[in-house]
């Protein structure tokens, strides 16, 4: 049976400016993706057939070019693992870049260093946890990322991408909470999401120090008319669409079978 697909194409094709992928990320972040399934890819010339997807659905093949998140809580943990891999890879690139090297403010340097530590810890922990509950073919592989659109010598560029990743992480964990069946995993997600929120506030305060930007109206939403005072809760498919649109992720993610409630 042919699966319905939504193809989210990469905007990173080498012809675009450095920050174009970021703008597209922001733009697509609000995109409502419809349909019963979602096929994401980050490099449009790497076509993949329905037959290949179905084969992967059946076998859960470990493959660096394409990965099926799976179903149930496992799918959500894989999803979290992918987001943490992205963040960890980004900060690893940051601390090897010239902006980080040139930071003279000790607190600013500490924040970037800590974020790198924390995201590496989240990533490696989730990998260990996944290995304790699932066979290797069902666990997301070590993903490949392409950060060529980011200028790691530019403070503005690094902090802007960092802010997007942290805010996205918060909204992603908030949106995933209700999809989890296990109270233990829900608590774990809670332990991580508040740290991501602490990160988001710290990065935002580096961008606009001492202002309301740490929890700004630009990122929060209203609930039931009580005011703009709540973080977003975004569904996995929308988060993955936004991630795919950055062009950072070189592996295709199949999210056909994620829980929706």
């Amino acid at each position: 049976m042919k699966k319905p697909m939504i193809n989210v194409q990469s905007f990173h094709d080498g012809r675009e400016g450095k920050m174009n992928s970021r703008r597209q990320f922001l733009k697509i972040g609000g995109l409502a993706v419809v349909g019963s399934s979602l096929f994401l890819y980050s490099c449009e010339e790497d076509g993949i057939t329905d037959e290949e997807i179905n084969a992967l659905d059946a076998k859960g093949v470990d493959n660096k070019r394409v990965f099926n998140l799976g179903t149930g809580d496992l799918a959500i943990l894989n999803y979290a693992y992918i987001l943490e891999q992205l963040e960890a890879a980004f900060y690893t690139a940051v601390i090897n870049g010239s902006y980080y090297e040139g930071i003279t403010d000790a607190k600013e340097k500490q924040i970037l260093t800590d974020l790198w530590y924390h995201e590496v810890i989240h990533r490696d922990f989730l990998k260990t946890a996944l290995n304790s509950i699932a066979s290797p073919g069902r666990i997301a592989p070590d993903l490949e990322f392409n950060f060529s659109s980011v200028d790691f010598g530019s403070r503005d560029n690094v902090l802007t991408v960092s802010q997007i990743l942290e805010d996205t992480g918060v909204s992603a964990y908030n949106g995933a909470g209700k999809l989890l069946e296990s109270a233990d995993y829900l608590l774990l997600a809670g332990k991580i999401v508040s740290v991501e929120a602490r990160h988001a506030a710290a990065i935002r305060d580096l961008i606009r120090p001492g202002t309301t930007y740490f929890a700004g109206d630009d990122v929060l939403v209203d609930l039931l008319g009580t005011g703009i005072a709540y973080d977003k809760a975004v569904a996995p498919r929308d988060v993955l669409a936004a991630v795919a649109a950055t062009g950072f992720l070189e592996t295709k993610i199949i999210a056909n079978n994620l829980p929706t409630a």
Partner: protein, 271 residues
């Protein structure tokens, strides 16, 4: 039953179809005698949900979980406390540094919204606002938060960090109600943004290292257990020597507090 009214505004009609239908299954995991409260809460899932059995089986603490109404009233108590604290702070001339008024004005606005949302959700079941004494006299303290800005900042940090741990500790109790769980999570992370900001205004890191407490010693309970290195049964101690070591491990995960632990902290300020 006001919660029904506001949920009617939501587009998801499924929410209403199973109103009250989970009462029997929930009674197995909540304290007896709370039936009146459960009956007023609509549940978003079918009675045969996997989530109920998962919650029942996976956590030994499930038998101590509060009802959703109790959880929301517990949260409301904390939000009342924060709102009043910041309102008095903002209304006290000369207390808050001019450069910091925007930040605390925003936090106050958020706490106001959180109170309103919880009142809307609870309807007639909402508790009245307690009487607060921010000197801490009910707990035997003699603080002066509205006459001494460093004390105001310290209490602010304490309330925000406590709020983060309090919401986190109750998420499991809301696992069967997708709507309320998501609202709680959306508040939870905003409290974490507040905590991060106020901590850095006090020249601390935005995240919690081990059990480090820079507040008055009476508040060490706010950070107790934050030095945990075991997640999902996996001990991360000693595993990240090149990535900040155990200090970073404890920073990377915020820990929950139980309702009783939070009540003990908040009780210091409740007459």
């Amino acid at each position: 039953m006001n919660i029904i009214k506001f949920l009617e505004n939501l587009s998801d009609n499924q929410l209403l179809e199973t109103k009250g239908s989970r009462r029997d299954s929930l009674n197995q995991i909540t304290n007896a005698g709370k039936n009146f409260a459960q009956a007023s809460i609509p549940f978003a899932l079918a009675a045969t949900s996997k989530k109920t059995s998962a919650a029942t089986m996976s956590m030994s603490s499930a038998m101590f979980q509060a009802s959703p109404t109790d959880v929301l009233n517990f949260a409301l108590t904390l939000e009342y406390l924060e709102r009043e604290f910041y309102q008095i702070g903002m209304d006290t001339a000369g207390l808050i540094d001019a450069d910091d008024r925007d930040v605390f004005g925003l936090i106050l606005r958020h706490e106001n919204s959180h109170v309103d949302l919880l009142l809307l959700a609870l309807g007639d079941d909402a508790i009245d606002k307690p009487t607060f004494d921010f000197t801490g006299a009910p707990g035997g303290l003699a603080l002066n938060p509205f006459g001494d800005y460093p004390t105001f900042l310290a209490l602010s940090q304490g309330f925000e960090d406590t709020g983060v741990r309090a919401y986190k500790g109750q998420a499991g109790a809301l696992i069967d109600n997708d709507v309320l769980l998501e609202y709680a999570l959306q508040i939870h992370s905003v409290e974490a943004r507040h905590a991060s900001q106020v901590r850095r205004m006090r020249d601390e890191k935005g995240w919690i290292t081990f059990e480090e407490n820079t507040l008055p010693a009476a508040f060490s309970g706010i950070y107790e257990g934050e030095d945990n290195t075991i997640q999902l049964g996996i001990n991360l101690a000693g595993k990240f020597p090149s990535f900040g070591g155990d200090a970073a491990v404890t920073e990377a995960f915020d820990e929950p507090l139980t309702m009783a632990e939070v009540n003990a902290i908040a009780g210091v300020f409740i007459v």
